[in-house]
C-alpha cells in the first residue's frame, strides 16, 4: 500500500473520502465535493440515517459532476473528541470500506477540524497510520486466490494544505508500523516455518539496521545453567535458542531498558498435552517474542535515542520420549529449583531463565516482559485488556498511560504476597502452577521470584495477541499488541529529547 500526501484538489481518479461531523455538518472538503456534485452529498445524507457519528459511513457510487468513481462519507463524531485514536480508526475505516471496492486509488480529503485537539498534519498522519495498520494482509500461502478476491486498493492519498508536515509526521509512525508488520508476520507464520532457529535467523537479519544480535544455543545455555528453559525444549527435535537484540542509541554506559519475550514457537502442551480443538492457535504462543523483535526493529528504524535490550527465549514444547515429565524438578539459572507440575505451564519456565539472564547480563533499570502466558487472563479480562502485573507503581502507571495513548489497553492485576504460598512445592523451591484459581496471578508470582530489585512489569497478552474479528486498525489475526505500546513507553519516558 502506497501512502502519500498531496495538496487538496478534487481527485481525477479513484475514490474520494470526506468527513462529516456529528449533526450532519460537512467539513470544508465535503462542502467542496457537495458543490461539485450539485448538492448530491447533502441530498444523500438527508435521505439516509447517516448523521456523522463515529463509525458511521455512507457510500455514494458514481456521483455526477466529479471525476471520482465514488464518494465515501465518514462520520467524525464531535470535533472535540476527534483525537489520534479516532483519526487512526478513520484511516482504518477507509481501508475496510474501500480495499476491495475495485478502485486502486483513494483520496482522503480532510483538513484541520476546528475544535479538535489535533492539528491538520497530525490528523493526516494518524489517518495514514490507521490506513497502513489496517491494510495488513498475510496472504503468502494463498496460491489460488482469484484477482477479484484480492484487494484492489494500491494507493492512499491524503489531501491537505500542510501536506509536507504531514508527510514528515507520518514517516516516523510508519517506521513503527514496519515493526508491527514484522511482528504480525512472525506470529502468523505456521510452526513448521517459524521454529526457534528460524525465528533466531529472522532476528539476526535485523543486524543490518544496526542492532547487535547474539544467539545462544543449547550448549551455551546449558553452560549458563538455564535448566528451566532447556527443560521445556527438550522434547522437541528443534534446538532451543536465546536471542539478544541490542540497540545502543543512547549515551554509552547508560543502563538500558529491557524487554523480554516468551517465544514458544509451538506449544502442544508437552506431556500435559492440550485438547485437539484450537491447538493450531498455539503457533502464536511466541507472540511475546514476536513483539520484542518487532519493537526492536521499530526502535532501530527510527534511531531511537535510548539504550534498549530485547531478549527472547525460543523453544518448542513437544511431547516425546525425551520430553520433560510432570513432577520433574529443574534448576533455573538463578539456582532456584522448580517442580514442573504441568508441562503446559511452560512459558513461565522459559521466562524465568530469560529474565534472570537479562538482569545478570545487562543490569537494566527497568524490565518489561510480554507473554501469551495464561488462559486464565482470557477469562479474567477477555480480549479488551492485557493483564499488567508490576512491582513498581510508577512503571505500571507509565505503561497504562502508553497503552491508553495507542489504544492497547492494560488492566492492572495483583501480584502480591497473599498469592505467594499458592506455588509452594512439596519437594522444590516452587512449583510451576497453583491450584484454586487466580492462574494469571500465580504465574506472575512465579515470575516475580526471578526478579531481583529491578523495576519490573509483566504483560500477559494471551487474550489480545490474536483477534477473532476485525478491529479499527487491526484486521483479524495477529495484532502485534505491545509493539506500539512499548514504542510509546520508550518515546515518552526513556528517550533523550
Amino acid at each position: 500500500m502506497k501512502i502519500s500526501f498531496a495538496k487538496p484538489t478534487l481527485p481525477t481518479e479513484g475514490a474520494l473520502v470526506v468527513g462529516v461531523l456529528e449533526g450532519r455538518a460537512l467539513t470544508p472538503a465535503a462542502v467542496k465535493a457537495d458543490q461539485a456534485t450539485g448538492g448530491q452529498l447533502a441530498r444523500a445524507i438527508a435521505a439516509s440515517r447517516f448523521e456523522g457519528k463515529k463509525e458511521q459511513a455512507l457510500l455514494l457510487q458514481a456521483p455526477a459532476g466529479i471525476e471520482a468513481s465514488r464518494v465515501l462519507l465518514l462520520g467524525l463524531g464531535k470535533a472535540a473528541d476527534f483525537d489520534a485514536l479516532a483519526a487512526e480508526a478513520l484511516g482504518g475505516a477507509v481501508i475496510a470500506q474501500l480495499a476491495s471496492s475495485g478502485d486502486a486509488v483513494v483520496t482522503v480529503a480532510l483538513d484541520g477540524l476546528e475544535g479538535s485537539t489535533l492539528s491538520a498534519p497530525e490528523a493526516a498522519a494518524a489517518i495514514a497510520l490507521g490506513a497502513r495498520l489496517r491494510s495488513y494482509r498475510f496472504d503468502k500461502y494463498r496460491t489460488k486466490e482469484k484477482k477479484e478476491d484480492k484487494p484492489s486498493l494500491k494507493k492512499v492519498v491524503i489531501a491537505l494544505d500542510a501536506h509536507a508536515e504531514a508527510k514528515k509526521a507520518f514517516a516516523v509512525k510508519d517506521l513503527v508500523a514496519e515493526g508491527v508488520f514484522l511482528t504480525r508476520d512472525l506470529a502468523s507464520e505456521p510452526a513448521n516455518v517459524i521454529y526457534p532457529e528460524s525465528l533466531a535467523e529472522a532476528a539476526k537479519s535485523l543486524s543490518e539496521l544496526g542492532l547487535e544480535i547474539e544467539v545462544l544455543g543449547e550448549k551455551q545455555m546449558k553452560k549458563l545453567g538455564m535448566g528451566a528453559l532447556l527443560g521445556v525444549g527438550q522434547g522437541s527435535a528443534r534446538e532451543s535458542q536465546l536471542v539478544t537484540l541490542r540497540w545502543n542509541g543512547g549515551t554509552k554506559d547508560d543502563a538500558p531498558v529491557a524487554f523480554v519475550g516468551k517465544g514458544v514457537c509451538f506449544d502442544s502442551g508437552g506431556i500435559s498435552i492440550k485438547p485437539a480443538a484450537n491447538m493450531e492457535d498455539m503457533k502464536w504462543d511466541m507472540g511475546g517474542a514476536a513483539v520484542v523483535i518487532g519493537l526492536m526493529k521499530a526502535l532501530a528504524l527510527r534511531k531511537a535515542k535510548v539504550n534498549v535490550v530485547g531478549v527472547v527465549g525460543l523453544v518448542e514444547n513437544m511431547p516425546s520420549g525425551t520430553a520433560q515429565r510432570p513432577g520433574d524438578v529443574v534448576t533455573s539459572m538463578s539456582g532456584q529449583t522448580i517442580e514442573v507440575i504441568n508441562t503446559d505451564a511452560e512459558g513461565r519456565l522459559v521466562l524465568a531463565d530469560a529474565l534472570w539472564y537479562t538482569q545478570q547480563q545487562f543490569k537494566p533499570h527497568s524490565i518489561v516482559d510480554l507473554a501469551t502466558l495464561t488462559g486464565a487472563i482470557i477469562v479474567s479480562l477477555g480480549s479488551h485488556y492485557a493483564g499488567l502485573f508490576s512491582n513498581d507503581d510508577d512503571l505500571a502507571d507509565k505503561l497504562t498511560a502508553a497503552g491508553k495513548d495507542v489504544g492497547e489497553k492494560l488492566w492492572r492485576m495483583p501480584v502480591d504476597d497473599p498469592y505467594d504460598k499458592m506455588i509452594k512445592s512439596e519437594i522444590a523451591d516452587m512449583k510451576n502452577v497453583g491450584e484454586g484459581g487466580a492462574g494469571s496471578v500465580t504465574a506472575a508470582m512465579f515470575l516475580k521470584r526471578f526478579i531481583k530489585d529491578t523495576k519490573w512489569a509483566h504483560l500477559d497478552i494471551a487474550g489480545v495477541t490474536w483477534a477473532k474479528a476485525d478491529k479499527p486498525v487491526t484486521p483479524k489475526g495477529a495484532t502485534a499488541f505491545g509493539v506500539r505500546l512499548l514504542d510509546r513507553l520508550v518515546a515518552a519516558n526513556y528517550e533523550q529529547k
Binding site: L381, K421, E435, A438, S440
Partner: protein
C-alpha cells in the same frame, strides 16, 4: 462458646501465653511478661520457634503450660496483626487440652481488644444440632480466655464494639452452613426475625407480592422450586429522618442446582452456600442495629431456590424485569444476576438510597481471575471504589477492582430481547459480563458497587496459605469491610 475476659492478672488460667520478638541475628527477645524462670531453658530445646508473627508454640515449663507467641513487630502492633495472632492462638490451642488460657503479651487496652476480636472471629463452628451425638474430635477444650492488660475496663469497652461484629459474622456463618433442606427461602426469612429485637424493621415480599409488583426475574429463578422465592427488606434507621439510606443488596440462592442447565456433581456440592451475599447483608444490618449506628441503612435480600422441575424456567425464556427491561435467559445457572437485577432495581426505586452495594457469590470466573484471596470489585464511581478497596485492605477482606466498561456489552446483545443474561463461551469473562448486566438495572448517577465474592465466601486450603482470619468454613466476607466503610463515612459526615 468461648468466654473472653479482660483482667489485670492471669489468675485462674491453666496455661499462660507470653510473647517474643525475633532478634535480627537469630535468637529471641523476651517481652516483659515472658521473663519467667525456666522458660528460656524450655524454649532452647525448641530451636524451631522463630517468633515470627502469629507463631504459637506450647511448651511445658516447670511452672506448667506456657505458650510462646511470636509478635514480629517493633513497638506499635497494627490491628490486623493482632487479630491474626488472636486467630492463630485460638486455632492452634482450641482442641489441645488447655481449658482456660491467659494471654500476657503486655498489651494496651486497644491492643488487647483487637487480639480478642481475632479470637472471637476464629471461635466459630457449625452448630452441634447437625449431629445426633457429640463428636469428641469436634469439641473445643478451650472455653475461656483471660487477656491480661493494665486497663481492663477500656479493653472491655473497645471489645464490646468489636464483639458485635464478631457475633454478626458468626450469625452469618450459621446461615451459610445451614443445609438447604433446613434453610429454605421461608426458613431464611424466619431466621431474620432475630433482628427485630435489635430495632430492625422487616418487610417480606412473598411470591404474591413479587408478582404484583413485577419482580419477574426473581420469580423466574424460583419457579422450579416447591419453596417460593421472596424479597426480604431490613431497615435500620439510626440516622436523621431526612437522610437517604445506604443500601446493601445480597444474593440469596438457598440452593443452586443450576436449574435445567444443571451443574455437575462436583460443582453442586457447595451450593447451599450460594446465599452468602444475603447472609453478609443480614449480618451487616445486625451490626448496625446492635451498635446503634447513626446511619440509615437498608438491606435487601433476594432469596430463591434454583431447582429443576417441570415448572422451571428454560434457556431462551424471555422475562421482563422489575424496571421493564426484557432479559433473554441464556444459562439457567447464571441465576444470581437475575435475582439481583430485580432486587437492585426495586431497591433503587423504593428506597431511594444514596449509594448501593451488592454482594453475591456470582461467578466462577472471578475465582479464575483472583482466586480465594481477593473478591472482585466492580464500581461505577471511583470514589466509592477507592473507599471500598481501602476498607478491604484494613480489614483484610481484600478486593481488587475489575473493569466495568462498555466494550464488553457486545457479548450481551440478544437477538430478541433487550439484553441476554450471559454468553455461552466458557472462556468469556463472565464476572465482567455479570457486572455489566447488573449495571442495566441500576439507575444512572447512583453510586453503586458490586462485589463478586464467589471465591472468598468460603475459606480456601490452609496449605495454600488461603486460610482467612475466620479460619475454615464460610467467611461471611464483607461484613467487616462494609462496617468499616460505614463507620468511616459516618465519621466523615460528622466532621463536615
Amino acid at each position: 462458646m468461648l468466654k473472653i475476659l479482660f483482667e489485670k492478672t492471669a489468675a485462674g488460667a491453666d496455661a499462660l501465653a507470653v510473647g517474643f520478638r525475633p532478634k535480627k541475628d537469630g535468637g529471641l527477645i523476651f517481652r516483659p511478661s515472658a521473663k519467667l524462670p525456666g522458660l528460656e531453658q524450655a524454649l532452647s530445646l525448641k530451636h524451631r520457634f522463630k517468633a515470627e508473627e502469629g507463631d504459637v508454640l506450647p511448651v511445658l515449663a516447670p511452672s506448667g503450660w506456657l505458650v510462646a507467641v511470636g509478635l514480629d513487630v517493633e513497638e506499635d502492633q497494627d490491628e490486623a496483626a493482632l487479630r491474626r495472632i488472636g486467630s492463630n492462638l485460638f486455632g492452634e490451642l482450641c482442641d489441645g487440652g488447655i481449658e482456660h488460657l491467659a494471654v500476657a503479651l503486655d498489651l494496651g487496652a486497644e491492643e488487647a481488644a483487637e487480639l480478642a476480636y481475632g479470637m472471637a472471629l476464629r471461635a466459630w463452628k457449625p452448630a452441634a444440632k447437625y449431629r445426633s451425638k457429640p463428636d469428641p474430635d469436634d469439641e473445643w477444650s478451650l472455653t475461656a480466655v483471660t487477656i491480661v492488660t493494665e486497663d481492663p475496663d477500656a479493653a472491655r469497652i473497645r471489645f464490646e464494639r468489636l464483639g458485635i461484629v464478631a457475633e454478626a459474622v458468626s450469625f452469618a456463618r450459621d446461615l451459610v452452613v445451614a443445609p438447604a433442606n433446613e434453610l429454605t427461602p421461608q426458613a431464611f426469612s424466619d431466621r431474620l426475625a432475630d433482628l427485630f429485637g435489635f430495632g430492625v424493621s422487616i418487610e417480606i415480599l412473598d411470591a404474591k407480592a413479587l408478582a404484583k409488583q413485577g419482580l419477574n426475574l426473581l420469580l423466574a429463578v424460583g419457579r422450579g422450586s416447591a419453596n417460593p422465592p421472596l424479597l426480604a427488606v431490613l431497615r435500620w434507621n439510626g440516622g436523621k429522618k431526612s437522610q437517604a439510606p445506604l443500601a446493601f443488596v445480597g444474593k440469596g440462592i438457598t440452593f443452586d442446582t443450576g436449574g435445567l442447565c444443571i451443574k455437575d456433581e462436583e460443582d453442586m456440592g457447595e451450593m447451599k452456600g450460594d446465599m452468602g451475599g444475603a447472609a453478609t447483608v443480614a449480618g451487616l444490618i445486625r451490626v448496625l442495629a446492635r451498635r446503634k449506628a447513626a446511619v440509615n441503612a437498608v438491606g435487601v435480600l433476594a432469596i430463591a431456590e434454583n431447582m429443576v422441575s417441570g415448572a422451571a424456567q428454560r434457556p431462551g425464556d424471555v422475562v421482563t424485569g422489575y424496571n421493564g427491561r426484557t432479559v433473554e435467559v441464556v444459562d439457567t445457572d447464571a441465576e444470581g444476576r437475575l435475582v439481583l437485577a430485580d432486587a437492585l432495581a426495586w431497591t433503587a426505586k423504593n428506597c431511594k438510597p444514596s449509594l448501593m452495594v451488592d454482594l453475591a457469590t456470582l461467578t466462577g470466573a472471578v475465582e479464575s481471575a483472583l482466586g480465594k484471596k481477593r473478591a472482585g470489585l466492580f464500581c461505577n464511581d471511583d470514589d466509592l471504589a477507592e473507599k471500598l478497596f481501602e476498607a478491604g485492605e484494613e480489614e483484610e477482606e481484600l478486593l481488587w477492582r475489575l473493569p466495568l466498561v462498555d466494550v464488553y456489552d457486545d457479548d450481551l446483545k440478544s437477538l430478541i430481547a433487550d439484553i441476554r443474561s450471559c454468553s455461552w463461551d466458557d472462556m468469556a469473562p463472565d464476572h465482567i459480563h455479570a457486572a455489566r448486566f447488573l449495571e442495566h438495572f441500576v439507575p444512572k448517577g447512583l453510586p453503586w458497587a458490586h462485589l463478586d465474592i464467589a471465591g472468598t465466601s468460603e475459606a480456601g486450603d490452609e496449605e495454600d496459605g488461603d486460610e482467612p482470619i475466620t479460619g475454615p468454613g464460610p467467611t461471611a466476607f464483607g461484613i467487616r469491610l462494609l462496617d468499616r466503610l460505614i463507620d468511616d463515612m459516618v465519621e466523615e459526615d460528622e466532621e463536615e
